[in-house]
Amino acid sequence: MSDKNQREQDRSQPGAAPRVGVYICHCGGNISDHVDVEKVCSDLAQTPGVEITRHNMFMCSDPGQELIMEDVKSGKVDRVVVASCAPSLHETTFRNALIRAGANPYIYEHANIREQVSWVHHGAAATAKATRLVAAAAAKAARLQPLEPIRVPAEPHAVIIGGGVAGLKAAAELAGRGIAVTLVEKSPFLGGHTAQWDHLAPTGEAAREVVAELAAAALSNPLVSIITSAEVTALEGYVGQFTLTVTRRPPAASDLPEQLPTAAVGAGAPGTFVPGHGILPAPLPEESETRRIKTGVVILATGFRPYTPKRGEYGYGEWEQVVTLPELIRILAEQQQQPPPEPVLTVNGRAVRRIALIHCVGSRQIPGIHEERPDGTLNQYCSRTCCTALLHAANEIRQRFPAVHVIDCYRDIRTYGRGQEELYTQAGRNRVLFLRFEAEDAPVVETAPPGSESPLQVRVKDTLTFGEEVQAPVDLVVLGVGMEPGPIPELIEMMKLPIGEDRFLQEVHPKLRPVELAKAGLLLAGTCQSPMDVGEACSAAASAAVKAAAILGRGLVELDPFVAQVDPNRCRGTGLCLEACLNDGALELVSCERAGEAGRRAQVNPALCLGCGACVAVCPEGAIQVNGWTLDQFEAMVDAIVADQQAA
């Protein structure tokens, strides 16, 4: 046993009175302008169990932390209370200071006297409340026991669900760090929607080359195995120790592209790029098969699907001259090379002279204006990528087919990223005519009056013309459809994935934990989280890969020890705690021997326990407690608060 552990054990001997140190922060005046810090110190010094009280201008500064560490190292104190800002800001800071001082980080209690006191109370009342809160924290601290984090061995393996650009990028990044990856893709192809595009905005690079490069990086690494035509059908376990069931099925004939080179499929030429579909990495399965994969983390890269306009929305489905942007991209990609001077754009066998683009189709929908889905939801979000993609297409049309005029009907132009605003400027130089409409006055697509040279006309109440209605004969209408979350209801149900109001998967915190789901070990990559362009999706995927590598890198996963613990002597096996438990599998009843008789008692799976305390409330025997938040600790806090009130 090391000296350190020996010391710790000595201190936490039953009977040996804990020595609490109380450290109060001025927060540079934020606290001390309203709270009499010195009075709090002197009042606390009278409290039984409190050994030392100190105050400092900034307790979180290096000298402030040194103060605490010195007292701990010298053995003056063995429980620490810091009274400062909210624990979300600096609790971890001070726990780490204790670790550096050679102590257990869980002998620490935090009192918030800034947000809960000095920012909201003033004068004597502020000082009185601060004293009460710090006394309560000290009372609890005296009853804290050293705890050990829960350590779970981590399977050095990641499963990535989805083989689009985000999935491929995450796979390549993880394998590059020596972590084995299984990539599960629903379709027979890799590359997702990106593989269906021609050139990517704003740089104009060929989409198939980007996909090929990402796929090559993943496929060439022996640590990456890819299962196509497959879906994840079950998930068990917890971070570090997940088990996934993956089911592979022969694709239905209707799901297969007509132009799929059957010879290539039959011969199983891996790595073939099938235009419009993506990379075919493996032959199609001929029979269904199911396998189970043990993995430490799961990265969701399930992507998006383009919004499908309702029949009749801007004439979609009614006139063949109304197409979506992805359809236009295919049309442009398939145009025959033509000699100058006047190349003709041909759609459905007709020469096109004027095209109207319409933005925000299926995006930025507004309650009361747009029709809700049967479940009452609307796509209220901006799909972010469509403005740039539409302008990119407009410029391509004007440059390749100078005789074709483009009319761009928008609500707002949101070309937000590097190199994207330039596309808007270029569109002006390319003489794209912009019309701006309000959501409640959407453009009307209708058949052109008799005698018109074009089959359709677009009518717009144009705010750039001071609200006058203008009309234009057009030969083609292109709908700038937005992104919707990929259709993964089974995964959401099975993995209990949190979804936001926009129906995309929702991270824990957009800034602090941007690629993590609330369930530990599940990570997000790409457009399953929100609309993104290819660059952003790859960036998010790289970030998820780094997070996954950080989780798996140590070979075990450490979790906070604030989980339920059963006192086997008290537990009578009523099973009430199981009924109250919010997380399946966190509690179970196991057989045991009690006074020579076979019985049952509750057992906690610490990796799954949320530490919520629901079980504590229902146990008639008081046999279950949450570590770090035991009932006697709560009682001590309440006593301290009430005692203070009586004294006052």
Partner: protein
């Protein structure tokens, strides 16, 4: 209702204006114009972009309110030369009148 004519911009080139579509309708020209008159010259420029010939001819006399002072051209953030565009529209309208006189 104004009907868009995408060819009008090319016609304006014959009257010395090739910056019509550079305008992004910010309205700086109308804000700085000493006339303070009915969104002048922004509205006219907008009609030129749309190719709304009939609107321009209906309101043609408004073109001659312009003082040719050049403030709009100086301050235009897109170098769309609004002053020259108004001059170009005057030339186009004068040509229309002359054609009509000769008929």
């Amino acid at each position: 209702m104004a009907t868009i004519s995408t060819q009008f911009v090319e016609e304006l080139e014959h009257y010395g204006v090739d910056t019509t579509m550079d305008c992004f309708n910010c309205g700086t020209c109308a804000a700085i114009c000493p006339l303070i008159y009915e969104h002048f010259p922004r509205r006219m420029i907008r009609y030129a972009q749309l190719g709304a010939r009939e609107r321009i001819l209906e309101q043609a006399n408004d073109l001659w309110h312009c003082l040719h002072c050049g403030l709009c051209t100086l301050t235009c953030p897109r170098q769309a030369d609004p002053g020259e565009l108004i001059l170009g529209l005057r030339r186009l309208v004068v040509a229309e009148w002359r054609r009509a006189d000769h008929v």
